[in-house]
């Protein structure tokens, strides 16, 4: 393994330890359900045992008799809540299925009652004693189930505007010397963050405080206010630490407004900690997808035709879709491209973002197909990527702001020992184990959104940074502190960071890997405002040139790269000149090309991310290359992955330590996704079956003996002031295909359906 704190290379910050390291390892970090409440009551959810139909009757007698039960809320006495639109239609919600509204059931595990009691145990016991009679209808579970409907995504989903196309695919494919047609499947997956989906609500008069792990405190604040029909200024969401999110906490779930309104009704703080299995149905998930890829190439490996058709499952009312063709049609040079994304509606809860939502399923298909094509061409798969590498995306002809894909391939190949691979399938082994090497490209769009921050600098250098960002385990505190320390030239220990609170200046959703780019860009900007004020006060006779703005440090350490000869500003003198003890600045930043309503949207909990393929004259992505060694046991067919090597280039790396952690976690997740993770659906009743950590498999330490992360230097001045591309969702994309490609190399067997389990291997 590489060192936990890799040496910074050019255009990388220092690998300082995590800002929150000590509180986390000593257990003092307060997560939502740790927040003390005055005399709380406890809620336990009752969820439906059918996926479609109606509730005929509740028998609550037994439950009510449990000592300590205060109230049982069902649709018959449920809160009257306003509807919230889906986030992709300008709302806040991850689903428009509103539980406790009527007797109707729209999916398995829908909330049908909430038991409130004096203790968690009493609430849970009473919930177990609630008896429900249903009239069940036959639900449609998934692809191929009777009763599903299918329609093109375009026109249904506001965020999927166009199926990318260019040239004449049909003709080019027809004429291509080498052709490949292949279908791929990806499974249902659930985020399963360690922290459960808890919610605590406490009212003080007409003001509501919500403690809930959220990846978007502003979105939740405005969403809950809308559902309750109250002024958003009366709602505050607090979560200084979030125990993992992976997208599951990006949009509002129905539980929050329900708990808030029950707390109001009972005039008591209420604490809800749902169980692990309830988390499978009361939030979102990654829906299963199906793909057909057609590739046409010349004998020498040039792609001439590419078509990617994808189908995705969504719920009956909501047209959620990830539409990863926006990426797969632009990854390689290819003059003739066609694509189509469709949505298949079933009786399921609404799916939602999950780490690299579009890229994981769609790149699995494309990067597997590229490997298959390399085999047909009898060509090294790395060389096939090199031949089709491009600096301009083929659909709109826009240049990539920067692209280090092949540099990543070369670095990772070297570190991995790709040259030692004998290309023939089934040609490498070690005792009981067949060995396979495989690789794939990975990429993720560079995105950023409008953000605001307040920074306060004291005479003694103590600094306070306030921004409603989110610490979902990525290192948000750390990079924000680093940015302020660097920019203001104060020691890192003097910087205090406050995030995870909707009373702070707004920041975007912690999703789409935009957080570091957005929050660091605004913090840089606001720090510069402070520098300017001090500079003007201390040296009123000198003009503050742009160069000086960039390079003149203040305080003890010169900021960023202070040019030779620049004198650091004497902080005390500057404060004396200003005649104040504290300088505080607030600022709002938006990325270039952000829509006009960006700031208004930012202040009402709405997301306006820009970047990726949707930029005006350019396209911005982070890239990487992933190499894996797979071992397949000849006898048991068990599949193990002893080595994962990834090289990544993502613009400026703020902190190589936290970046490495993100990428390492991504590689492990990718392996997990390829070999282990899948939510099993009982097709007869459209219910999730393995909804617990014993049956929903994720890797244990013994599954991950070797992970190596290589960070490449890359400078990109076209994306945002911080020069950051974002990498939280970069590493788990390519791994799925890399593993299947390695399994092919080990066994000669091409597997096009995830996850790959031992029963899929025939050696």
């Amino acid at each position: 393994m590489t060192a936990a704190a890799p040496e910074p290379k050019i255009n990388m910050g220092q690998p300082v330890p995590r800002y929150d390291a000590v509180v986390k390892v000593t257990g003092r970090a307060t997560y939502a359900s740790d927040m003390p409440l005055a005399d709380p009551a406890y809620a336990f959810l009752v969820t439906s045992a059918i996926a479609k139909g109606r509730i005929d009757r509740f028998d609550l007698d037994d439950a009510r008799r449990v000592r300590g039960v205060i109230d049982i809320v069902t649709h018959e006495n449920g809160p009257k809540l306003k509807e919230s639109k889906l986030f992709s239609n300008g709302g806040y919600a991850g689903t428009t299925i509103q539980p406790l509204k009527s007797a109707d059931i729209a999916h398995d595990g829908q909330i049908i009652a909430v038991v409130i009691a004096e203790s968690y145990e009493a609430a849970r016991e009473a919930a177990n004693r609630v008896k429900v009679s249903y009239t069940a209808a036959a639900p449609s579970a998934t692809f191929d189930s009777p009763g599903t409907t299918i329609a093109a995504a375009k026109g249904q989903n506001a965020q999927f505007k166009e199926d990318p196309k260019v040239g004449n695919f049909a003709k080019a494919f027809e004429e291509a010397e080498v052709k490949l047609t292949a279908s791929y499947d990806t499974p249902t997956q659930h985020h399963n963050p360690m922290e459960l989906f808890s919610t605590s609500c406490a009212w003080m008069g007409d003001e509501l405080v919500i403690y809930e792990p959220s990846q978007f405190v502003y979105g939740l604040k405005y969403g809950v206010a809308e559902q309750l029909g109250i002024d958003a200024d009366k709602v505050r969401v607090v979560n200084p630490y979030v125990g993992g999110g992976f997208g599951s906490r990006g949009s509002m779930t129905p539980r929050t407004a329900i708990i808030a309104s029950i707390a109001k009704r009972l005039s008591r703080p209420i604490k809800l900690v749902p169980t692990r299995d309830q988390g499978f149905t009361i939030t979102t998930y990654r829906a299963e997808t199906r793909h057909e890829i057609k590739l046409g190439a010349s004998r020498d490996g040039k792609l001439l035709a590419l078509k990617h058709e994808g189908a995705e499952i969504s719920s009956r009312p909501d047209a959620y879709c990830v539409g990863g063709t926006k990426t797969t049609t632009r990854l390689y040079a290819c003059p003739n491209v066609d694509s189509l994304v469709s949505i298949v509606r079933a009786d399921r809860n609404t799916p939602g973002f999950m780490r690299s939502p579009p890229e994981v399923p769609y790149l699995f298909a494309l990067e597997s197909a590229m490997d298959e094509l390399a085999v047909k061409l009898n060509m090294d798969p790395v060389e096939l990527r090199r031949i089709n590498d491009t600096t301009v995306e083929p659909i709109g002809g826009k240049p990539y702001t920067s692209r280090s894909l092949m540099a990543c391939f070369d670095e990772a190949a070297k570190a991995f020992g790709w040259a030692q691979r004998s290309p023939q399938p089934k040609s490498m082994s070690d005792g009981d184990w067949l060995i396979g090497y495989g690789c794939a490209a990975t990429c993720y769009p560079t995105q950023m959104g409008p953000a605001a921050a307040r920074v306060r600098l004291q005479r003694d250098g103590r600094t306070r940074v306030e921004i409603a960002g989110h610490e979902i385990g990525t290192g948000a505190y750390t990079v924000v502190a680093q940015t302020a320390a660097e920019r203001l030239g104060v020691p890192l220990e003097k910087v205090a960071v406050f995030i995870g609170d909707s009373d702070l200046p707004p920041a975007p959703v912690a999703g789409g890997s935009n957080s570091t780019a957005s929050t660091c860009s605004v913090v840089m900007m606001v720090c510069d405002q402070i520098r300017q004020r001090l500079f003007k006060a201390a040296m009123p006779s000198q003009s503050l040139t742009d160069k000086a703005k960039e390079t003149v440090g203040i305080g003890q350490t010169p900021a960023t790269q202070a040019a030779k000869g620049d004198r650091p500003l004497d902080l005390e003198k500057a404060f004396d000149a200003l005649g104040v003890g504290v300088v505080e600045e607030y600022g709002e930043w938006k990325p270039e090309g952000a829509p006009l309503d960006s700031f208004r949207a930012m202040h009402s909990g709405q997301v306006r991310l820009v970047g990726g393929h949707a930029m005006k004259d350019q396209i911005a992505y982070a890239f990487g290359a992933e190499f894996v060694e797979v071992r397949v046991n000849r006898f048991t067919h068990e599949i193990r992955c002893p080595r994962l090597v990834g090289a990544f280039a993502a613009g400026r790396i703020m902190n190589p330590r936290t970046a490495r952690s993100q990428l390492m976690g991504g590689l492990i997740w990718g392996m997990s996704s390829a070999l282990l993770e899948a939510t099993d659906i009982d097709e007869r009743n459209a219910r999730y079956v393995n909804d617990n950590f014993a049956d929903y498999l994720v890797p244990v330490n013994a599954d991950v003996p070797g992970v190596e992360v290589i960070l490449l230097s890359e400078q990109d001045d076209h994306i945002n002031p911080a020069g950051v591309k974002g990498l939280g969702e970069l590493a788990n994309v390519g791994t799925n295909a890399a593993i299947c490609n390695a399994i092919y190399h080990a066994t000669g067997q091409r597997i096009r359906k995830l996850p790959v389990r031992l029963e899929n291997i025939e050696v």
Binding site: D277, F635, R640, D680, I681, A694
Partner: protein, 338 residues
């Protein structure tokens, strides 16, 4: 979880008393009002899930003093029911003379669980069938006799292919029991009438038409010890699973051989992950005994072990897998250096 009374039993009589007092006639053990608590890693889990609803818990951990021996003395082995999985797995004498036992324990669960869990609790652990463990499914003959079986045509990748009935196909999930049954272990049972011993093979009951009756143990009876006669240094536990650690077997084999001058004098083969109860493959053993080992023989034995196996939609792969696991385990046992 539902409220329950809790009592610590400081001696075996007290435990037996407390357990028998609550026992109602005709109630199978799994439904008994009082349940003994050892490590709690199965019992508490099922209580939280509302699958088991005992009114009384009798904590037998204070009996560990007398009931946790690990004695591989001479040619006989005695293991107390309250010995911890981790202690037994780490014991030198067990590793040397009974590798099949040490490895069946070492490859089970996780380090934390093995530190808590006891041998007695381990053999009594209950199936991991998802439909059994989720009370929102109505059809489970094991939980509600006569209600049907949701797994039969549901998600049944983990389910059994041997010893099944049209009432239940739930896999017996444990590992250690396969080692015990292979080695012809006896189980010592303490009850109202004192202590009795019986072959371990008689402890578990195949589901048949009464999947709710899992063992021959009666309410008020406790397992106090296990005994094995003879040493079995040439023994192997091979476990195939999706991940490298911390998972139940998709298929496993406990194999113990006595090979003299290249001839198999005695052979023991037991199967895990594929059967409704700890499963002895006597047909395979019969083929092996008296023969010289080669791959073809191993294959025939493996085929014999699964001759009666029947798969369903998601678990048919276990038949082919199970055969390869048996063949490989035999090979490993034959070639191991002792």
């Amino acid at each position: 979880m539902r409220p329950f009374s809790y009592q610590r039993a400081t001696d075996p009589d007290m435990a037996v008393q407390a357990l028998s007092a609550a026992a109602a006639a005709n109630n199978p053990l799994t439904q008994a009002a009082a349940q003994p608590l050892a490590g709690g890693t199965t019992l508490i889990d099922l209580m939280k899930l509302d699958v088991m609803r005992p009114a009384a818990i009798v904590d037998i951990n204070p009996l560990a003093h007398g009931w946790s021996v690990i004695e591989p003395n001479g040619d006989n082995l005695r293991l107390g029911a309250l010995a911890k999985m981790s202690d037994v797995a780490a014991h030198d004498g067990i590793q040397r003379n009974y590798p099949v036992i040490a490895n069946s324990l070492k490859l089970a669960a996780s380090a934390q669980l093995r530190n808590m869990a006891t041998l007695g609790g381990n053999v009594m652990q209950r199936t991991r069938c998802s439909y059994f463990r989720d009370v929102s499914y109505e059809n489970c003959n094991k939980r509600h006799p006569g209600s049907g079986c949701a797994a039969m045509d549901g998600v049944n990748r983990m389910h059994a292919v041997l010893g099944i009935s049209d009432q239940c196909i739930a896999t017996y999930p444990g590992d250690f029991a396969q080692a015990l049954i292979a080695l012809d272990a006896t189980v010592e049972i303490t009850g109202k009438a004192g202590t009795r011993s019986m072959p371990f093979a008689q402890l578990h009951k195949a589901p048949g038409s009464t999947p709710d009756i899992e063992t021959t143990l009666q309410p008020g009876e406790l397992i106090s010890a296990f005994a094995v006669s003879g040493r079995w240094p040439r023994s192997v536990y091979l476990k195939a699973r999706d991940r490298q650690s911390y998972e139940f077997a998709l298929s496993s084999a406990a194999v113990a051989l006595d090979v003299q001058d290249g001839t198999i004098k005695d052979a023991r083969v037991a199967l895990g992950g594929v059967a409704t109860v700890p499963w002895r493959a006597r047909e395979a053993e019969a083929l092996l005994k008296g023969q010289k080992f080669d791959e073809a023989l191993a294959q025939r034995a493996a085929d014999a072990a699964f001759a009666d196996a029947r798969g369903r939609r998601h678990n048919s792969f276990k038949i082919a897998l199970g055969k390869r696991v048996v063949a490989r385990a035999l090979q490993q046992a034959v070639t191991m250096e002792i």
